[in-house]
Symmetry: C2
C-alpha cells in the first residue's frame, strides 16, 4: 500500500492549476527520486502542501515559467516565488518550519551530514546505469559504494543516521535505497546486500519502511520496475497508479 | 600584485606537515577556482588559517587520508576532522564564524542566493571547454548564461549581489569571473562582455577587484593562461609563482 497521490501528470497543452490559498505547491513526478526527497521532508514535518504532477516526457509549457530548465521537484510559495533543487529545497523547508528539525543544530554535525549525502552520489551515479545500460553495472562497485554507510551507521550507534528518528541524511538517501531492490529484480541476487557485510544498513532499511513519511511515499520495487519498463518501451506510463 | 602564498605544492612522496595549533588548515592549489572560493571566505571573514598547497598531477599519498577522492579544497580542523566540497565548506565557515556574515540571515533570500550560485554552474560548464576544446566554445552561449546575472544585479539595485559588500553569491562566482578574461586572450575579442548588454556586471567586476579578499587571491588572466599552457604542455607548472 502506498499513499502516493491519485492525481494525473499534467502534459503539454495543459493549464497551470491556480494556487491553493495557505498552501505551498510541490511540482512532482510520482517516480522521481529527487521529488520523493521533498515529499519525505514535507510529510515528516507535516507541512501542508498540494501536489501538481508533471509528465516529464511531454512537459507543460508553463513548467518553464516555474523552473528555468523545466524540472521537478520545484515548490511554489503563496506569493508565486518558485524554488528548486531537491537538497536546497529540503534545507529551505527545514529552516522555515520549526516542527521536527531534520538537520542537526550543530554546524559541524550538519556539515558532516551534508558530506555524507554528497558521498551517496557515488551510489546514485552507479545506480543510474539501470536506466542506460544495466550490463555496465558491477555488483562489487555497488557494494563498495555502500561500505562507508555501514561504517557510519555503526559509528553513530543509532537506528537512523540522525539518531532515534530519521533526519536529513536518512530522507535524502532513502529514495535510491527504496529503488535498490530493482537491481535484484533486473540483474539477479548478486545485488542482494549480504547480511554479514551490511547488518546495520539492512536493519536501517527495515526501520525506514516503518517510518510514516516513508510509508506515505513508498512504492514497491516491482512498481518502480514496471515504470522503468514502460519508459524503455517508449511511452513512460506516468499515470499507472491512477485509479 | 597578488598576495597568493609563496609555498610550494607538495607532491607524491612528501610528508603531511603537522597542524599549527589554533589554526585551521586549508589544502589548496594556487590555480584552482574551487579552492579560491574557500580562500575568499576565509580572507573576507578574517579567519586565521594556514595553507598547504598540493600538486594535483602527482598527489601526495597522505591527501587520500584527508579527502576520500584526494581533492582540494579541503580543510582540516584542529582535532583532525577534515571537511571538503567548496560550497559546503564555505557555508560551514560562515556558520561557525560570526565576523561579517556572508550568507543572508533570511532563509528565503539565502535559498534564492543558493539557487543563483547553482545557476552559475551553467557558465562554469561552458567555461571548462577552454581546458578541453576551446573551439567547441561559443560566445553566444557564454553571453546567454550571464544574462540572468545582469538582470539579477539590476533587480537587486546594489553594487554587489549581497548589497553594499560582497557576500556569498559574489565570492562563490568570482573565481570564474576572474578567469573569464582568459577567453579574450585565448579566443579573441568576441568574448569581451559588451558594455551595453552587461553594464551592471562590468561595474560589479570593477568593484570586486577592489575588495580586499579578492585582492589577496587575485591572479591576472595572463597568469591563469600561463598555467593553462603549462598544463597543456604536459607538465603543469604549479610552482610558477614561487620566488
Amino acid at each position: 500500500m502506498t499513499a502516493v497521490g491519485n492525481g494525473r501528470h499534467l502534459s503539454v497543452g495543459s493549464t497551470a492549476p491556480a494556487l491553493t490559498k495557505g498552501k505551498l505547491r510541490l511540482y512532482s513526478m510520482k517516480f522521481c527520486p529527487y521529488a520523493q526527497r521533498v515529499h519525505l521532508v514535507l510529510d515528516a514535518k507535516q507541512i501542508p502542501y498540494d501536489v501538481v504532477y508533471v509528465n516529464l516526457s511531454a512537459k507543460p509549457e508553463w513548467l518553464f515559467d516555474k523552473h528555468p530548465l523545466g524540472k521537478v521537484p520545484a515548490i511554489e510559495l503563496e506569493d508565486g516565488t518558485v524554488l528548486y533543487e531537491s537538497l536546497i529545497l529540503c534545507e529551505y523547508l527545514d529552516s522555515v518550519s520549526a516542527t521536527r528539525p531534520l538537520a542537526s543544530a550543530d554546524p559541524l554535525q550538519r556539515t558532516k551530514d551534508k558530506l555524507l549525502i554528497e558521498r551517496f552520489s557515488q551510489f546514485i551515479g552507479l545506480f543510474y546505469k539501470i536506466y542506460q545500460d544495466i550490463s555496465a553495472l558491477n555488483s562489487d562497485d555497488i557494494m563498495k559504494s555502500l561500505d562507508e554507510f555501514e561504517v557510519e551507521l555503526t559509528k553513530r550507534d543509532a537506528p537512523y543516521f540522525s539518531g532515534a528518528r530519521p533526519g536529513m541524511v536518512d530522507y535524502m538517501i532513502w529514495p535510491w535505497c527504496e529503488r535498490a531492490d530493482m537491481l535484484t529484480i533486473l540483474a539477479g541476487d548478486r545485488y542482494l546486500l549480504p547480511e554479514k557485510r551490511f547488518p546495520k544498513l539492512l536493519q536501517w532499511k527495515k526501520f525506514m519502511k516503518e517510518d510514516e513519511a516513508v510509508k506515505s511515499t513508498y512504492l514497491d520495487a516491482s512498481v518502480h520496475v514496471k515504470f522503468l519498463k514502460s519508459r524503455e518501451g517508449g511511452v513512460a506510463d506516468y499515470d499507472m497508479l491512477v485509479s
